[in-house]
Symmetry: C3
Subunit: 148 residues, 3 copies
């Protein structure tokens, strides 16, 4: 559900372990809310240096990481405090993997319609439902009444 | 208009014929609604295995396909039954190309503003208009009064 | 803030200078509104020819460029004239870089929530604020009261 698309220069996160560590931290942000771990998809999208331009300029000094986050399972209420908590959580995740490495970065979150979302052909169960807890426990999409 | 972005591991859909067949089936879903075939854009986005993480883990057993669908031409009414019909249509398309191959997958649809969309510099004509029928028949963006 | 993702066939825009020129023109569209240049991120996303299908068909005659634009800093009012001005501005940018080269193209703009957006861990200052002017002048994210 949360889909994190991380556009980065080729070579950054060159070691697969750095990607796993980053994706693990992203995953924890959502499993803390009770969501199944396998909901959290991280796609690293490597781009040649010449394909990343900021302000019309190539980046020569330090990498620029652009993170695009799609939230689907839980729609936040239109409330400044909630948005702020959400972005603060994201900041905390990004710190060791981007900020502390001295990179520049930007992110935004978009929220999309839950009813236009499926996993392995199944409608993901309502948040905090028994079925969702089963999906979390088994860490996979388990068929249930109402999933089709 | 519909933009289908299919993030898949390098090697999956390795044969161009498998991509064409997949994209043909996607296209049919929209031409059935009367939309021009050339509205339907499918971008396969190949990612190295190490760049696809689900629940913070690399995928070792089977491919994971993440499909991101953008709908622009037709905004669905906020109606459970309509959403359900739409996702069922998508499920039917994905079955032979993903499910039957034994892959895991997830998709979501986002809907965006029709008035912020152009093809070859032209405003696409209203749904079911005569101009749209001409676009469908000629399978290309044909200038018309009101297209600029 | 504006994020321009330009999906193009490998080889198109093969010369880095053509990308810089394109991204410079995109950037000007936003700096004219008073926004900082570094807000404007352009990602060129090269795809193999066989990964771009239009109407279920591979493109053999001429390149097809698909541009996806995310607007975050400024939400347009729901007003036909405003949308039209915005798309006309985009058309003008695309002309020398796509239309005049004889390519086919399509674009759409999506607008997302400003409060779910940060740069280098900072909340971007309100449009036309003194802080934004400072960001524009220094062309970087400068800490300020309220940025956290």
């Amino acid at each position: 559900m949360p889909l994190w698309q991380i556009y980065h220069p080729v070579g950054t996160y060159g070691d697969p372990a750095s990607k796993i560590s980053f994706a693990e931290d992203i995953t924890k942000m959502y499993t803390k809310l009770g969501l199944p771990a396998f909901y959290v998809v991280t796609n690293f999208i490597p781009l040649p240096n010449e394909d990343i331009l900021v302000g019309g300029k190539l980046r020569t000094e330090k990498p620029f990481i652009r993170v695009v986050i799609s939230h689907i399972a839980i729609k936040m209420p239109n409330d400044d405090a909630v948005y702020k908590r959400s972005t603060s959580s994201i900041d905390a995740i990004l710190k060791p993997h981007i900020a502390d490495k001295g990179y520049d970065w930007e992110y935004h979150v978009m929220e999309t319609e839950r009813r236009l979302w499926k996993i392995n052909g199944l409608v993901p169960p309502p948040w905090k439902s028994d079925e969702e807890q089963l999906w979390a426990k088994e860490d996979r999409a388990v068929p249930y009444d109402g999933a089709y």
